[in-house]
């Protein structure tokens, strides 16, 4: 593992270093909300998934959804983090119509998950380790609808009370690339675990990014928080912009005011939302409606045994078992769906040990390449894992050449069908019958006596003969046999 060197920003007074920390809000995958039985289904009619508890009717009480607790513990385990057997729910008090209780139930002083770490992949095969400060459970808010009436705003409480995991990183991130890689990796881990769908467009994953700048190795600067980012690209852009904004102020002799800012992707700039002085006093205190959340080490251990293989473990296994390069392995494991596809191909292969690496090359180069070209997703690939495995089997067993395989791949992509049957019906089989190949070789040599005579002096012209034979056999001749035959007959 090589450690990353990060990007510094050049200013008028020299280099500046960014110090970045992130708070990621990940919506917990669960059927019902954190403290009520209402459904978490996305996209229902406004206020169709609202219980009496969610609407904060008088006398209603929260009851913890144990599945959300399990999901938080699973996530903690996936982040190699300390699981706290006792944690406390607090009330974060503020008035807003999307929060019917007048407070959000969150975890303030005693979160369910403590310190952990995430290894992130950077360009050039480098990695960086980003520390996790904590993970806690909290309620999501509802949504205000401002476009329903000219004089009033309406509120949709469907999302209100849905469980969120707030995952707080340490200020270990040093540039925009690391920040993007961190979100990407975290999302990947959550998806592997099945604890959050990671869909940033639907708002299932949102990030608050804290940015400050300093002279390399110098004391920490004052930070600004960029709120509610829901795109990895925008996160990168916002960090770059914000860091440059701060450097400009500092180099002009100014000071950074601690504040909350919003990123405007259209203008590509961050704007002040509220200053520290305008910050809310949330009056946190332990929620007296809920007992401290306590569970046993056995509960945690059991969840640990049920944990799926995570990207880092998968990557190590792919490298060890199939001789994949670290880079190829990380490409395959980056998205759970890609890894699943590759592993399905492996399952279908006749000889996994022999062809595992070839399969990786095919998935990455041919399949991903083709998918990218058409802007399609792996889950929507016209060539399925079974078909791709059959193509690789055909290469591995010598029935078709790699070149023919590419043609076959194209046919399967366009028309579908069983690759083995297609090879048969379209006569794509590689000719391994030596006498048949020999006849072609003899014919070509006989037709080109001058060139044959030159081969001894110019061995590189052997390639011309190979090409001619392959062309005459429509690519089906076994290239190795062709080579061997030509060499012996031409006396090279």
């Amino acid at each position: 593992m090589s450690t990353a060197t990060h990007k510094l920003l050049k200013g008028a007074t020299g280099d500046w270093e960014m110090v970045i920390g992130m708070e990621i809000h990940a919506q917990v995958t669960s059927n019902s909300k954190l403290f009520s039985g209402a459904s978490t289904t996305f996209g229902g009619e406004p206020n169709s998934h609202v219980s009496l508890v969610d609407a904060a009717m008088p006398g209603m009480l929260p009851v913890i959804n144990e599945e959300c607790v399990r999901q938080a513990v699973r996530t903690g385990l996936g982040l190699n983090a300390k699981i706290n057997l006792r944690s406390v729910f607090d009330r974060k008090n503020y008035f807003y119509p999307d929060s019917p209780q007048g407070y959000q139930i969150s975890q303030y002083k005693s979160p369910i998950v403590g310190e952990g770490e995430v290894v992130v992949e950077l360009d050039g095969g480098k990695t960086a380790i980003i520390g996790i400060e904590r993970l806690h459970l909290e309620q999501d808010a509802g949504k205000l609808l401002h476009d329903q009436s000219p004089t009033m705003s309406f509120v949709d409480l469907n999302r209100c009370g849905v469980a969120l995991m707030e995952i707080v990183s340490k200020p270990d991130i040093r540039d925009a690339e690391q920040a993007k890689a961190y979100v990407t990796k975290l999302r990947s881990i959550l998806r592997y675990l099945g604890t959050c769908d990671g869909d940033m467009e639907k708002g299932s994953l949102r990030a608050d990014v804290n940015v400050s700048v300093r002279k390399p190795g110098g004391p920490l600067g004052t930070r600004c928080e960029i709120k509610n980012m829901n795109s990895i690209t925008f996160i990168g852009q916002a960090i770059e912009y914000e860091a440059r904004r701060q450097i400009e102020i500092l180099e002009d002799g100014g000071e950074i005011g601690q504040e909350t800012r919003l990123y405007d992707p259209n203008k590509g700039e961050t704007r002040s939302m509220r200053s520290k002085e305008e910050a809310h006093d949330y009056r946190y205190f332990p929620d007296p409606d809920l007992l401290p959340l306590e569970f046993s080490q056995e509960f945690v251990d059991e969840l640990k045994t049920e944990l799926p293989e995570l990207p880092d473990q998968k990557k190590t296994r792919f490298v060890a078992d199939f001789g994949l390069s670290a880079y190829d392995a990380s490409v395959l494991v980056a998205e759970r769906e890609s890894a699943v596809f590759y592993e399905t191909v492996l399952d279908k292969l006749a000889n996994r040990a022999r062809d595992g690496k070839m399969a990786a090359n095919w998935v990455i180069n041919e399949l991903f390449g083709r998918l990218n070209k058409e802007g399609r997703d792996i889950t929507d690939s016209p060539v399925n894992a079974e078909q791709l495995a059959a193509i690789i089997d055909l290469i591995g067993e010598g029935t078709i050449s790699g070149k023919i395989a590419k043609d076959l791949f194209e046919i399967v992509w366009q028309e579908g069908g069983d690759p083995r049957a297609l090879v048969e019906s379209r006569g794509m089989k590689q000719v391994t019958d030596l006498s048949a190949i020999e006849k072609v070789v003899d014919d070509i040599i006989a037709a080109n006596p001058d060139k044959a005579a030159q081969v001894k002096d110019k061995p590189q012209s052997l390639g011309w003969f190979v090409g001619q034979v392959m062309k005459a056999s429509a690519g089906k001749a076994n290239p190795q046999s062709v080579n061997d035959l030509l060499k012996s007959k031409l006396g090279v």
């Binding site: 008088p58 008035f95 205190f285 809920l290």
Partner: protein, 491 residues
């Protein structure tokens, strides 16, 4: 036939079982009494049609021998309990004409056991008060008056409507809630029996919250036995309230008449206040004598942190209340006072909807939770709370079964007489009762005598967690010795 309203619950149960009278007759007798006693302002909502329907239905069940433990017994319900289809306001303007679509767990258990609802009872707004003077429906009159006086007295609070209605024979029993003394103090002021069970014994689901870590439901009744019968139906574990405790509910009535021989009763020296009326002092030692005569052993005990209980309570309770009452914002239900923007809507609604005492407590609570003050107030109050709890634990660890104290530092007072200039004067009413809420223990108030002006006074017994049975046994000893007290009817 004697007036059906003068029966105890236990007597009524026998009459119903023997078919001496029907639930409808019993219910009608109480409905008439309610109508005749409107001057007391105990009920804020009468539900005669529903009461008769419930009574008829339960009469059919009784006829088939299917009546539950409270079959046919007409009760009053404190307006803090959500009642499905019946306006529930916590006696606050801010809830307006709020009609719940749900029934509180406690009341649903009463209906399950065959009880009949007569209506909703007055209380201090959001249960904040000790005289039932903060209700948006106006004060409640105590059926008791000073001898030779026409001054209307308060019934105590916050369950003033419950206590007044039970004492005036308008219902056979009532639900109540107790956050700092709101069951026991009004019971003492009206010569009724009130028990605040152990925290977690009754579900809080569907009860408008005041201070979640202190609130507990309990009954106000005409006798110790009646209170035991009611609590049995009200108590029990509820998965919808995670602070409710999963312990089987005993047959509390079986504790009535059980020997108290050998029970060790603690007399806490810190409850002997300077300037305490001599008659309360006298009553207290009388109570001790009665228990000793019944075979109990009296010991002096110390609860050293008692003097910090009231100040700590007036930090913890408002802190929780300030947050619990945040939901009354004019957005989804209840009163809405429009404004130019959402902040103004909040401000206008809450300024108009909350009474002065509620506003005061919301402000105190907001203050003590604020950044920079949290450690000095809220955190310190929680530490005091732990010490108070430990005082009791130490006491129980030395073998004490229950602690005997006065229920209140005085008898009932006149409407408007107290707390006008200084709210602390009113807060001092709870001096003997708040410790019990802070420690989450059960406490019962039993009528024990009268003061020189003929007003009832009560004694309080504090028990170990979930040992309400001991309180019922001891309470009945006091009841037997002191006799029962009924106010002369003036309304």
């Amino acid at each position: 036939m004697t007036d059906l309203t003068s029966l105890t619950l236990a007597e009524a149960r026998k009459g119903l079982a023997d078919k001496t009278f029907t639930s409808l007759e019993l219910t009608d007798a109480h409905l008439s009494a309610i109508e005749a006693a409107r001057v007391l302002n105990a009920f804020v909502m009468e539900t005669p049609d529903r009461a008769r329907d419930m009574a008829k239905a339960v009469d059919e069940k009784i006829a088939k021998g299917e009546g539950g433990p409270l079959a046919g017994i007409p009760l009053g319900i404190k307006d803090l309990f959500a009642t499905k289809g019946v306006r529930t306001t916590a006696c606050s303007k801010i809830l307006g004409n709020f009609v719940p679509t749900y029934e509180s767990t406690v009341t649903s258990q009463l209906w399950r056991d065959g009880a009949v609802m007569l209506g909703k009872l007055n209380n201090d707004e959001f249960a904040m008060g000790s005289a039932n003077e903060t209700s948006c429906f106006g004060p409640v009159g105590n059926p008791w008056r000073r001898e030779g006086s026409n001054t209307t007295l308060v019934p105590g609070g916050s369950s003033g409507g419950s206590a007044s209605a039970v004492a005036a024979l308008l219902c056979m029993g009532a639900t109540a809630t107790d956050t700092g003394g709101s069951i026991r103090q009004p019971a003492a002021f009206t010569a009724t029996v009130g028990i605040k069970p152990t925290y977690g014994r009754c579900s809080r689901w569907g009860i408008v919250a005041f201070a979640s870590s202190l609130d507990q439901a309990g009954p106000i009744a005409r006798s110790v036995r009646d209170a035991a019968m009611l609590l049995r139906s009200m108590a029990g574990h509820d998965p919808k309230d995670t602070t409710s405790v999963d312990i089987a509910v005993p047959d509390y009535e079986a504790a009535i008449g059980k020997s108290v021989k050998g029970k060790k009763i603690g007399i806490p020296r810190e409850y002997r206040l300077d300037g305490m009326p001599a008659e309360i002092e006298k009553l207290w030692s009388e109570g001790a004598t009665w228990l000793r005569s019944a075979g109990a052993e009296l010991v002096e005990v110390s609860l050293p942190h008692t003097k910090y209980a009231l100040p700590a309570y007036y930090i913890v309770a408002p802190a929780e209340a300030s947050s619990n009452l945040a939901r009354y914002d004019g957005v989804r239900y209840g009163l809405r006072e429009q404004g130019k923007n959402i902040i103004e809507l909040y401000e206008n609604t809450r300024a108009e909807g909350f009474g002065a005492e509620v506003r005061r407590r919301v402000m105190i609570g907001t203050y003590v939770l604020s950044a920079g003050y949290y450690d000095a107030y809220y955190l310190r109050a929680q530490k005091v709370r732990t010490l108070i709890k430990k005082d009791f634990e130490d006491c129980f660890a030395r073998g004490v079964d229950a602690i005997l104290t006065p229920a209140t530092p005085s008898a009932a007072f006149g409407i408007g007489e107290k707390g006008g200039a200084d709210p602390v004067e009113m807060y001092l009413n709870d001096i003997f009762t708040v410790t019990v809420n802070m420690a989450g223990l059960p406490g019962i108030a039993v009528p024990a005598g009268k003061d020189a002006q003929g007003l009832p006074l009560g004694l309080q017994l504090i028990g170990r967690p979930f040992e309400e049975e001991t309180l019922f046994s001891l309470g009945e000893v006091i009841e037997q010795a002191a006799g029962r007290f009924t106010p002369a009817r003036w309304w």
